[in-house]
Every structure is written in C-alpha cells, then in structure tokens.
Symmetry: C2
Subunit: 130 residues, 2 copies
DNA sequence: TCTCAAGTTGACGTTTACGTCAACGTCATA
DNA sequence: TATGACGTTGACGTAAACGTCAACTTGAGA
C-alpha cells in the first residue's frame, strides 16, 4: 500500500550532474522508453525510481550493456510489468544475466593476470638496462 | 632470437569459425589496424600472433571495450611498439586498465547481489500463491 | 576445361547512442 | 520589463562497428 515515487524530486539537470551525462542523453533515454518522468507543465520531474533506473543504466554501460538490454533489466525489476504468469520468465532472465556476468568475471580475471604478467616483463626489461 | 609468427597458419574462415565472427569482421579489423596478416598472393594468412590478438579483441568486446581500446591494448603488449623510453607509459596504461577492470568487478558484484535479491523476491511471491 | 568454394576489393547501407542546432516557452530577479 | 538560466521539441548530423551486395580472382577437384 506504499506510494513510492513520492519524496525526492530531481530536475533533469540534477540527474545529469549526478550521473555525469547530458540532459540530451536523459531525454533520449526517455524517448527510448527507459524512463517515464512526471511532468509539471512541460517540465520533467524525476523521482527516486528514475534515479534508480538511471543508476542501473550507467552501470550497465560500464559493463557494455546496450540500452535495449538495460531496458529489459529495468522491466524485469519492475513489479508492474511482471505478473504471475511471467514469474518463470523473470527467473530465466535472472539466470541469463548471471551467466553473462560470470563470463565477464572470468574475462576480467584473465585480463588481470595478463596485465600482471606484462607489468612484470616490462619491469624486468627496465631493470636490465639500469 | 625466436622467430614467432611461424607455425600455425589459419585462413580467414578458420578464424571466423574459431571466434564465431564473420570474415567481413576480420577484414574490418585489419582495415582498422588491429591485424596485419601475411599474404600469399592476395589471400590472407594468419599466424599464432593474429589468433592471440583476435582472442584479446573478442574478450574485450564481451567487456565492452571499443576496438580503439583493444587496439591500444594490443600495441601495449606488442614488444616492437614499446621501446625503452615508453616503458613508463606502458606501466601507466596497465594501471589504467586495472582500474577499469576493478570498477567492472565491483559493478558485477553489485548486480549479482541485486539479481539474488530479486530472485528471492520473485520466488517468495510465487510461493505465496501456491 | 569447367565449375565451384573460398577469397578479394570497393561502395553503400544500417543500427546504436548520442551531439548539435534552431526556435521557442517560463520563471526568478535586477 | 527585460534578461538570463533552465527547459522543451523537432530535425539533422555523426562515430563506431559492422552487414550487404556486386564484381572479380584463384585454386582444387570432377
């Protein structure tokens, strides 16, 4: 019975500053269906839910997710959009995401090891001409 | 004194199959300066070095690296391209890469926790109407 | 010798994720 | 009242990362 989306209100430039993106980008995300802010006249007003969605989007970008993928995640988390007969599909999507993230984790560990090895090589080469 | 780039020879379609990409993509990478295969007449011939570079590129793509970034990594690993007075820069790039990967690792862990939490919510909701 | 699979080089098209610019509305305040 | 600062809606431009297509060559096998 809780009416979320109430308290903290942000302007578009608040969010732009908070996430270090442009207002143009935020409007673009809206046009792509990733955000649906309130309006006060024609001005957009963003609430906590929008803040959370944006956080998910920018984090997704750091991990190479497309906007379409982030949109899917947002919808997956959205309690409106997933009614009873979709629970199973949600669980499958959760599992897909996990699989992908695990692959990325392995990739990161491999790259880290290669970076360590390369740093060692370079340091060794530097020493051998001091 | 070791002459690398000798033994295993691949055709362009060998590599396309091995990495599940198209030959068009491989030629595109070459045109962007990421690969420089040998030629037999006008046919391209790829060696072990090219294989390794491609592996780095596709892994990079899974982590959201641009081709320009993968190219930088390839050049960083290339012993030709980094002579004495560039050692310091190489070490800085290694450190940059590490920083980025560590951020991604944190992002992954956060997302994993959120996925776990969401799965729990969904499962609970499913039970409460069995 | 024919042919067929595999490879090659342009040239052009496409999708994604925004940037840029113009033209306009709307407040708060000097 | 006018002058910014901030916001809005199109319309168009752009860079990256390929895909698609056409027109051609080349080598191995029937």
């Amino acid at each position: 019975m809780k009416n979320d989306e109430s308290k903290p209100i942000y302007t578009i430039s608040d969010l732009a500053q908070a996430f270090d993106i442009t207002t143009r980008t935020i409007r673009f995300y809206e046009s792509e269906g990733l955000l649906q802010p309130q309006r006060a006249g024609q001005k957009r007003l963003y609430g906590h839910g929008d803040f959370v969605k944006l956080k998910l989007i920018v984090r997704g970008k750091r991990l190479g997710f497309s906007l379409a993928e982030s949109k899917e995640l947002i919808e997956m988390y959205d309690p409106q959009h997933n009614n009873q007969d979709q629970y199973q599909k949600v669980l499958e999507k959760v599992q897909e995401s996990r699989t992908r993230l695990e692959q990325q984790k392995r990739d990161i560990e491999t790259m880290m090891r290669e970076l360590d090895a390369h740093e060692a090589r370079v340091r060794h080469a530097m020493e051998s001409l001091s």
